[in-house]
């Protein structure tokens, strides 16, 4: 399968959108483009499974390589393994749902969709590339449009949030850049190629100095404590599709980078820093959950809960066992879908009630059963109900973490497990205060339930959540090969 196709489709869509005038044409182009992208992803999975049978132990599949800047050994190199395929599918689905949810945007529709598709291009490129320089390039593409999305289409204190988000993520990128350059200059043949770099054993000193740059740099994207404060502000000021992209995909760019670049390329340092990572992620998990409990704004609530849930991703990476890594990747996918659904639904509620304050709602179930059900499903997924994706992912992380013996690791796992109770508290609180009870505000008496595009968006995301939740086997087996290789490198000397 030609991986470049996955980049060409969003690029073409974005360029076509720029040429169009009519708003509805823009929307339909974006929709068709993202549907094609989703279909391509299915083709990719099918091709991957076939390829995996013939050559099961390959590191990367469908590799494509052209020289880009030969003087610096920079090349255009694409390749996938199970982990990146999972991420690509997640991106395609979330973008599709985002396009659908934004159907009613009136202000500068063309620019909005252009930026949204551009973000999708950046994310796809990031997950596909095997060249660190190129990966960095795409990472930046996935950051800068967000500034504009929040600044122009956002709400609340959007300028502040946009600045904060852009600056903190740029700060993260700067750290990443230092790390990448360090890897480049420490490699004997000066290369950015991940495949090549993974065969090199960097000196302990190099690893110890530069691992934190990469891990923290990517960690900022994925709300690593204490660099998470852009998350609540950024998410709550962003427009609906922006929040969906931010929480659903952008945070996964960071965790994918932590896993694929930092941990994989510098295994020795990963082993050394593992306790630190575990402590930070446990703080994020439990402290994030407690902070969530106190939020009064739905978007803030979901943003804080994202901090808590992304803690599981980092915990899985920090535990370094094969099962924990699989769980971590599953959590990336699961959290991406779930949180996107959450933000989509919150956006739909906001469009109708013009408030996001939990205590101003109440009894919405009666007026909009469909949206409420979607909210309910997102909530149940978030609190780890079996049959929905969150459970399978969390349980895999727990089992993987429990394989590390010793009081420290055990305590960390138990602390992480404790969050399932706190999560239940805040989710049920939000559900009961917004959806249940008697209708609180009579002005909500004539609001309408979801329309077709909103329904479709919710269905796309719920389908993913339920599919993974009911049959997690295919996802865990999809990522197993990639996780095996990473874990193998972490375990060996």
């Amino acid at each position: 399968m030609n991986l470049t196709a996955l980049l060409v489709i969003p690029l073409l869509t974005a360029l076509t959108i720029l040429l169009l005038r009519r708003h509805h044409l823009v929307k339909w182009t974006a929709l068709i483009g993202s549907i094609i992208q989703c279909l391509l992803c299915f083709v990719l999975v099918a091709a991957f499974r076939k390829e995996q049978i013939t050559s099961p132990s390959d590191f990367m599949y469908f590799i494509q390589q052209f020289d880009w800047l030969p003087a610096w050994n920079i090349s255009y190199k694409l390749g996938v393994d199970g982990i990146s395929i999972a991420m690509i599918m997640l991106t395609a689905f979330v973008v599709l749902a985002g396009v659908l949810v934004s159907w009613n945007i009136e202000k500068m529709t063309r620019e909005f969709y252009f930026l949204l598709i551009l973000l999708s291009l950046g994310a796809h490129g990031f997950f596909l590339s095997l060249d660190l320089f190129m990966q960095f390039f795409f990472l930046e593409i996935a950051v800068i449009p967000k500034y504009l999305l929040i600044g122009i289409w956002g709400s609340g204190k959007k300028e502040y949030s946009a600045n904060k988000l852009a600056l903190m993520l740029m700060g993260g990128s700067a750290l990443v850049l230092v790390g990448i350059l360090a890897l480049y200059f420490s490699s004997p043949d000066k290369t950015f190629d991940i495949v090549r770099l993974s065969e090199i054993h960097f000196s302990t000193r190099t690893q110890r100095i530069f691992f934190p740059f990469l891990f923290v740099g990517f960690g900022i994207f994925t709300a690593l404590f204490p660099f998470h404060t852009w998350v609540p502000d950024g998410h709550s000021s962003a427009p609906t599709a922006g929040s969906m992209f931010l929480a659903g995909i952008s945070m996964k760019l960071g965790s994918y980078g932590c896993l694929r670049v930092a941990t994989f390329l510098m295994p020795e340092a990963a082993r050394q820093y593992s306790p630190t990572i575990i402590v930070l992620s446990c703080i994020a998990i439990l402290y994030g959950a407690f902070a969530t409990m106190m939020q009064k704004d739905l978007k803030y609530m979901n943003a804080y809960s994202s901090i808590s849930h992304c803690g599981f991703i980092l915990l899985g990476i920090g535990m370094l066992t094969r099962t924990a890594i699989i769980g971590s990747v599953m959590q990336m996918v699961s959290h991406g879908l779930m949180t996107a659904l959450f933000f989509a639904v919150i956006g739909m509620i906001y469009d109708r009630t013009h408030t996001r304050m939990i205590n101003e709602m109440g009894g919405l179930m009666k007026m909009m059963p469909m949206i409420s059900t979607a909210f309910f499903i997102a909530g149940l997924c978030s609190l780890g109900l079996p049959g929905l994706s969150g459970f399978a992912a969390e349980i895999t992380v727990f089992i993987g973490s429990w394989q590390r013996t010793g009081l420290f690791y055990r305590t960390a796992t138990i602390i992480a497990c404790m969050s399932i109770v706190v999560t239940a508290v805040y989710i049920l609180r939000a559900i009961s205060q917004t959806l249940m009870g008697p209708l609180k505000n009579p002005a909500f008496g004539n609001i309408k339930d979801a329309n077709w595009n909103e329904r479709l968006a919710a269905v796309v995301l719920i389908a993913g959540i339920v599919l993974i939740g009911m049959a997690p086997y295919w996802l865990s087996e999809l990522v197993r090969g990639g996780a095996d290789i990473i874990a193998g490198r972490l375990m060996s000397k």
Binding site: T229, W230, F290, C417, S432, M436, P438, Y473, S476
Partner: protein, 646 residues
Amino acid sequence: MPNSLYIACIPLLPLVSFALLGLFGTRVFKNLSGLLATVLLVVSTILAIWVAYNYFFHFGQANGIYQRIIAGQVTWLRFSSELSIDMGLMLDPISCMMIVVVSFISLMVHIYSLSYMKGEERYPTYYAFLSLFTFSMLGLVLSSNMFQIYIFWELVGVSSYLLIGYYYDRPGAVKASQKAFIVTRFADLGFLIGILVLSFYSNTLDFNTLIERLTNPASPGLKTALASSFLGISAITWGSVLVFMGGAGKSAMFPLHIWLPDAMEGPTPVSALIHAATMVVAGVYLVARLFPVFSISAPASLDLVTFVGVLSALLAALIACTQTDIKRVLAYSTMSQIGFMMFSLGVARHGHEEQLGYSASMFHLFTHAFFKALLFLCAGIIIHLVHSNEMNDMGGIRKNLPVTHICFLIACLAISGIPPFAGFFSKEEILQASWQRNKVVFWIALTTSGITAFYMFRLYFKIFWHKPLGHQASHADTAEGDTMIRLPLVILAIGSLLTGFIPFGRFVSADGTPVHTDLNLIFSVGPVLVGLAGIFLARWLYLNKNDAPEKIKNGTRALYTAAYHKFYIDEIYVFITRRIIFNLVGKPAAWFDRNVVDGLVNTTGNTTQIVSKKIKGLQSGKVQEYAIYFLLGAGGLALLFIYGWK
């Protein structure tokens, strides 16, 4: 052995009706929803009875011992080469008994609800949730894997949550559903960690292998588990105790029982099915499922089971004497009866001689399901008649509800342990088993069964006698109207009458060999006398209106007040959650994040701006200023080189 497809159909048919009703219920099926769910459940029930019959009489035994048979397994999620979640169907005496109980009681409730819930706005949703519950509960009892049981455990919890909160516009129901979910979730945390502990040492999640590896003294897993200890308690005991914590939460054992009385906010048929007959016994079932591990490798944990069980039984019985909401009285009686099942398991031990408690517990679970479901279904009819849950609004309605009256009386006699009703046989065995191990437990249990008889007949007399006949006559025709409502009552009443005669020990025992129970005169006469004493006391106090109850109330004021306020356990919980968790953990965490962590970020940003504002004057574009800076710099460097260079 029957085809495993048929066995799989037992839980899957309710799932089908859940999916159909959940997706198309409100638009396509509407008033036919109930019928659809009921018909599918009839098939499922017939299959369950057929499978159980075949298991007990045909293929279950090998050399006179009932085997644990795995009929089909599918890998659901694989963690590593040894650890995986396999969705399987396990047949053994207790699971076969449970599929019959669950599907049968559920069917009764389905039929009852056909007319009881008629006209409800969310009728299809009600049946969808009921089907989801039935599916989850059947899946739970058939589980062959530790995590499979956990998965269905959670699903059962969520369907209970959905059904308690069925009337979602009533704040009381919403609160109750939330409380039930969160309390049981807290218990499940223990269960989850327990699973992690046990699976770590046995290196498997499969029940059969796990039990085999954790009970065989030669297995390396058990050796390490016994050798490694935390706070002086061996790892295996920790694992068992934590798993029991999950069971105690779901079975509403002290001190995790606070959700059950509130759960009565749900529709009454739901209380009958979930919060009386089936879901709440899941904890007992879980301990029974892992009984070999408990009894062989961690006997200390069984002592805890006994203690918790006895305490819950006594405490709940005392509270039940003071409550006036009839559903709450029934809820506390459920808690008390589950306490009986729990401590009965707790007093059992490994080995042929000492396993009577195990069979007795399962027997009581079986009989209790019938008479407790019956009590709740009767209560539903009574509540429909008087439009109130309060005992004081009732009285003298025996002529209005003749069938209900007789059924209620039968159930009361059964729960009080009066022969020949079902409760007599199972309770007698429990008392016998506790006498063998622990005399204190025996005496407490005996007292509790007296109290049980008292409060049940207090309920009975206050509902059906107490006041002059017929003041509710205006509703006489509407209350018991439908045959569909009476049919389940009659069937369950027959069940409460006959199930006691099943030679239960022959079929269900801890090691699969038949346990012979002979009616021991001492253990039969004692409880019956105590029971009768309780009944006569209740008759004296409540048959007619008099001031004796008031006097007794005043005489025992301290105990009465404490019991009336449920021994203030709810208040303790509220204190811990509100005051400590919310105010001392949650609020500071949120504050810290906004002000300290984010404050640092903002300070960094602001400082950068201030500094750059301060120093931007340096770049003024005036050559003279640059020249001065240049000179100062050059001079400084010169000084540094001259004096600072060593």
